[in-house]
Amino acid sequence: MQDARAFVHPRRLAAIALAIVGVFVVLGVRLWDLQVVNGAHYRELAEQNRVVRVPITADRGIVYDRSGVVLARNQPGFAVSVIPVDLPRANENEVASRLAPLVERGSDEIVKAIAQQRERNPYEPVTVSSKPLPRETALLLVERAELYPGVRVTADSVRQYTSGPLYAPILGYTGPINEEELAERQGGSYLLQDVIGKTGIEWQYEKYLRGTLGWREIERDASLRELRTLALVPPRPGNDLVLTIDDKLQRLLNAELEKGVTEDRFTQAVGIAMDPQNGEILAMVSIPAYDNNAFIQGVTNTQMKAWISDNRHPLVNKAIGEIYPPGSTFKMVTGLSALSSGAATRNTVVNVSSNVLVVDGWRFYDWRVHGSLDFLNGFAHSSDIYFYTLGGGNPYTGQRGAGPDAIAKYGRMLGFGAPTGIDLPGEAGGIMPDPLWKFAKFDEPWTLGNTYHESIGQGFVAVTPLQLLNAYASVANGGTVYKPHLLKEVTYDGKTVVTPAPQVARKLEMRQEDLRLIREGARRVVTIGHAYMPNAKLPIAGKTGTAEFGESSGVDSAGRQRLGFHNWFVSFVPKEDNADPTARIAMVIFTFDSSRSLCDVCFNPAVAMTQHILEQYYGVADKK
């Protein structure tokens, strides 16, 4: 029997039993020491253990125009938040229903917000008020604090945009941070209830505008009443931004364009003005726009759906976010390509003896019979056949053109086909086509017709208004392509913190005399009355353009007739009436679905508006 049970080792089992009892005795002694001997001490520590750390949000920086006009600021008020750990679950519904009328929200929404915060981080307050509350409401909550366990009232401010739609395309808006954005910014400087720039300048310069969170350590008693502040790290407000925008010009431009839309001369419009000598954007208007204040109060679903389904794209900053055929304004590129590649000089003459050029049975029209034109007059009169010839040559006369590769090369040099790099999100790159591009995209060879269409800014080529303006600005300043920018300086407490230097994207590898020739031509566009400016007070130079694309029947979301007919005028103003690269302002105006006109000149509404705006801006307009 003894042998049969050799597998049991009683002494070892006894040893284990002894060890178990021994260890529990040790643990018991340790517990006795902690709980009975030192129990009072630890109980005191537990009582003291009622310190909470609450964040204090920092005010976001203010945004000014270049002369100090406030564009975005913070409106003070009070916010109501709930710290879920301080609110017993049993009282949740009761407290929520008491809060609901005060913060003007449904009590189920409040309960939901608290429940979500309990899951995320119950030690951090969650804001339950959706807009700043008046002082009386705040006082009511503070005075009857016993009715509102876990509820806190804090000074809060809300973003306010002084001019709504006027600056919405530039400034964008802020909104509550979402889970993704929070995850990208792990590191503690953002809270769940935080606000973050969503688009525009608010997004672009989040790092400057956002301040640094402050913290307050509060000691509380057993019933969670706040006894005293133990430590306070004050928040640091965000830096202020001074934009290059000139509010006066912005308003002039906007008023003119709005008037045009009201009078049904066109349905959508873009206007941009910049300083060609450094790339500063002076004004940028995109119509129709949206009211960015709506996003601060919380956009309703209906409103959001309406904006998204609107085929005029009010949420897009059309100055940088949409691309259009440039029409005749692109003749500058064709001309510079021909001049720079040696295909033409200022003396190249084309005899436009018919208003149609027929090549291989295809007909390419001009808008009239011009007769014999040199470069200056070809540009000034905007002859299509002159620029067909400069772009693609003429197989009958044997005249050589620049060719699509040269046009693409100089077009890209001028900034087409790639974003300009402006300090705004959502910039489109446009299309600067060449034979390789066409082959890759359509698997078709490039034709002479493609070159002809491209030469007058039709066909595949597509630009943003900003690209077009920037290209003309580089010619106007004598050959420097700047990165357009909106940020003039970053300040804190009135002192300049950062002053970004103008950034040169590239220099044009072109002859100065060729650039001068374009400036001469652009001035001539106005002086010969092609762009008709009666009683002109300023030596405005510019180029008109007309582009036909898109739907030409039916109505848009505003019920306006769709014409598929759009006008450009891109201009610059030299200091004196000469061809020197001295312009301090360049402007582009694009009008969408303009009233149909037969020619490039007749009813281009952009020309008269440009004259009107610039003359008022410089204070030289006729008094009426």
Binding site: R5, F7, V8, H9, P10, R12, L13, A15, I16, A17, I20, V21, V23, F24, V26, L27, G28, R30, L31, W32, L34, Q35, V36, N38, G39, A40, H41, Y42, R43, L45, A46, N49, R50, P84, V85, D86, L87, P88, R89, A115, R118, E119, P122, Y123, A222
Partner: protein, 385 residues
Amino acid sequence: MSVRPIPMPQASSPLHAPPSVRRLLDLDWILLITTILLVGYGLVMGYSNTMEDRTFTGDVGQQLLRGILYAVIGFSVMAIVALVDHSWLGTFAPAIYIGTLALLTVVLVIGHSTLGATRWVTIAGFKFQPSEFAKVFMVIVLAKWFADRDVRNPLTLVGGLALLAAPVALVFRQPDLGTSLVFLGMFFGLAFVAGARLWHLAAIASAGVAVLPIVWSSLKAYQQARLTVFLDPYADPQGAGWNIIQSLIAVGSGALTGKGLTAGTQSPLGYLPIAESDFVFAGLAEDLGFVGAAILFVLFVVLLLSMLRVAYRSRDAFGANLAGGLAAMLAFQIVVNVGMAVSLMPVTGIPLPFISQGGSSLISICFALGALQAISMRPEQKAIS
């Protein structure tokens, strides 16, 4: 000539040795009652913790029902396992081993991540933690391994270690340092009970100490900090030491009789981390004081000694190894968990048997105790006369 009954094989099928009322008399009643008391204690503490937890968003009643449901499942599993001859567990040990590895692999592939570790899989809406079952299953596998071989041969020990290597590696990958350590503690306890030579065990332990630096360097920084900070929690009171200090305050402030059920202040204010699992003992000591903790200790000691008694009375080596190994495993878990709460042991994240919330832990323990009852009900055959 009278016909003599043919002696039945010891490892008989349930058909040869069917469960009968007579066997119930051989139930280990002390073990069973202690088990019931501990499960009940766990339910009460679960309720108290849920009530105190202001971060909890669900329905308290539902949470309690869930605990009761786990207990019912646990006792059902225990009953079923007790009815089957424990030898069958040995017979199926290879299959159990393969199943364990499969389960642990599945967690790594499709498991959920919480706090950086992947330990759970969801089956039919229930969160399921395979490593809890793996611990019990590996006791079965190793008990069988040692029962069938000469434990005094060092190769048997090395073979056992080799068997254990795969599950330890898989659990370590989750990463679950605590469960890996439980595996190792269980191995030594089991080998000791099975009769391995002491100097063999000592040699393995020294080899382990020798490779310690390598293991240490493979740990994540937070694991290293948790392992050492108990030596001096006040060196980093706001960081790694925070948990331990708050746990000590919770335990200490419970004093002799505690603050009362659901009246604890440490866990609801968030000072006690993972109050329902890793630091559950601190919450218990805060609510019920030294008296409550001492009652728990007594229950644990009675349970563990009963388990050792089952080992002593087992009719075969497999049963003895199984009972001894399970006792060693539970003892290791309890001591490490409680030791952690009172800052005598490093923080390793091992649940406290019965008290920590979690169906997987409770059901796997019930499975183990069912096996012990099966052993108890089939003692050494009385001499056949």
